[in-house]
Symmetry: none
């Protein structure tokens, strides 16, 4: 009855699928960062996406997978930023400063992803001593940080120390943005927070330098 041509429509339909998926992820990200993952209902998400509830289940096995996917995406975006140095770093300080900038930019432009990653969940995850229950994307994130840092420190660095570093950075950035979030404009932040960042980088170097 529907006489839509089926031959050439594949690309078109694939596009539509991708678009729907994107709408869902965008809506979910918004809802999760606003209400928290637990409190957000599937209906919150699909309402926001202006889609049917069942549609979510055509794109994601369940709510957990959706969360997982969003976290993966977010980590991916963060890692991308970690990898793109504006200039070749010369020292450990350069690397760490870049890390802070990368996190900063990530927050500024992907604040919902930032919140998803660092609001509560990540801290709780990272604090658990045994890394075994850290999920894969978080491990990738830690591994990424490690790989950048490892070449600047004495060869056999304690893996736990890397994790501490990552936590420190994430935590600091969270705190750091309490400034930014509240309505200080760019310049204000730049002028008032820069010394803070400098001090922090120095502290991290000291931390890594000891052994």
């Amino acid at each position: 009855m529907k006489n839509k041509p089926k031959k050439t429509s594949k690309t078109r339909s694939q596009k539509r699928v991708a678009k729907t998926r994107r709408k869902l992820k965008k809506a979910a990200l918004g809802v999760f960062s606003e209400k928290g993952v637990e409190a957000a209902t599937v209906e919150d998400i699909t309402d926001k996406a202006d889609l049917g509830k069942g549609t979510l289940y055509r794109h994601f096995a369940d709510k957990d997978e959706m969360v997982f996917t969003l976290i993966e995406d977010a980590i991916e975006h963060l890692i991308e930023r970690l990898r793109s140095y504006p200039d070749e770093p010369q020292t450990l300080e350069d690397v760490l400063e870049h890390f802070l900038n990368a996190h900063y930019d990530f927050f500024a432009e992907n604040s919902e992803e930032f919140i998803l990653l660092f609001q509560g969940r990540l801290f709780l995850k990272l604090q658990s001593d045994t890394s075994e229950d850290l999920e894969e994307p978080y491990l990738r994130y830690l591994g990424e940080i490690e790989s950048h840092v490892s070449q600047y420190v004495s060869p056999k660095i304690d893996p736990a120390k890397i994790r501490r570093l990552a936590c420190a950075i994430a935590g600091f950035i969270s705190g750091y943005f309490s400034f930014a979030m509240i309505g200080m404009d760019e310049d204000e932040i730049e002028s008032s927070v820069k010394p803070l960042r400098k001090a922090f980088v120095r502290t991290l170097c000291t931390f890594l330098g000891r052994d």
Copy 2:
């Protein structure tokens, strides 16, 4: 004619009530800080407290009221610390340094309360520009910080700025403790983080100084 013998018998039973209530709050605090408020079930709490499910409802109207009570308590404890200066502060720097110490001690000795307050929820609350939906205990906390600081700065300080300050401190402390949380020992923290704290205090002073 009615001579209710309430004086003598109450003490004992009141104690029991208070004990039960304490057990519930302790268990709830543990469960909330471990799994998050949303994910924790009433049964998790009462199981941990080794009490019947219904008992929780004799002491709290519902789960929400329990969360609210715990937050109130935690804020109360934090405010107590804010008020007890070891020495009379002479400068704004003294006050701010004391704030950081107070938050630190609070975290060290009431880490579960700290997590309850600062993990996720507080950030979300404090970020909302309009203070109208900040709940009473959080407002008390902000007010407390304001009252300490106000006497050291030019009389007509922008109230919004005070809030930013409080947010900055809360945020910074959260980040700050990413160190402590991960297992650095006291000395490590002391030696490596002290400069960071100094820098932060200086930054805050600058921030408040400008107008």
Copy 3:
């Protein structure tokens, strides 16, 4: 330790017990007639009686027994009224007129008991065809009515007919009191409703007369 004399106190303590029981029944009657038996909680009752919740269970095995007891009492009071004719009845009409008066007085002076008996529950009970699940007090009530009427009608009266009669009276009285309840004063009722009552009695006679 307690040096209350135990010899002579029995009567006194028995009185106290009786008094407490009376307080409980009075409170329960009030709550039941106001909120309905199902909706009334044990605590509603003991609060109203200004007694502890446990006390109720010293006097009644459970809530059901309490309801049963109250119904028994109410039926007892109603039956007492049915039995006390002002004048020796001469005809079936006299008996029925007396019934209406008795129910009327019962309602006027024991309205809570009336409501307990006739509001919903009784109708539902009495309507069920098989008498087997009619509880004992209700059967007593029906039996009482039957015994008064039986001598005025042809010997082998259908038991179902008796039940219908009882229902009719109870129903009529309920309806009847929609007048009284709404604020008509005695005289108004007397003058405007009397013919109604007369007609009703005549109807009942006709009903019983047929066979």
Copy 4:
């Protein structure tokens, strides 16, 4: 661009929704009239409707809303009957007689709704002197009765009197049906109760006539 195809597909699914809702209401009405509103559980209803427990909550916010809806429906049906006179009424007696017939028919054909309305709840509601807590549907019912009667009585009739009238009718009908309910067949009722109805109508006229 968005061309939601809601026109064609809705009819079918809307029908299904309506059917489910009807099934729920029918089951609820049965359970409520059988066990009473309080005693009936949500599961009783959904079991009887052969539906899942959650389904009820897709159609009604909660149990209370369901009860309210059923009451509203029942009042609606009753009012419909009140409005459809077989012949144009000429006198107040005609109107009142029609009222009694309408209630009778309502009971005969919607006995469960009748029981829901008049079993217990309505009396309790209508008896409260101040109309402020009479819920909207009950007020509609009273208003309907009032509007029919008002044109036949002296212009400035006391509103309270109208309410008394409505209560009297409702009450009388309840009582009246204690006959019908018990298993008298149509003819029996017709022959034995008709004079009663006549007398009642005359009484009501007298009541309204006085001032």
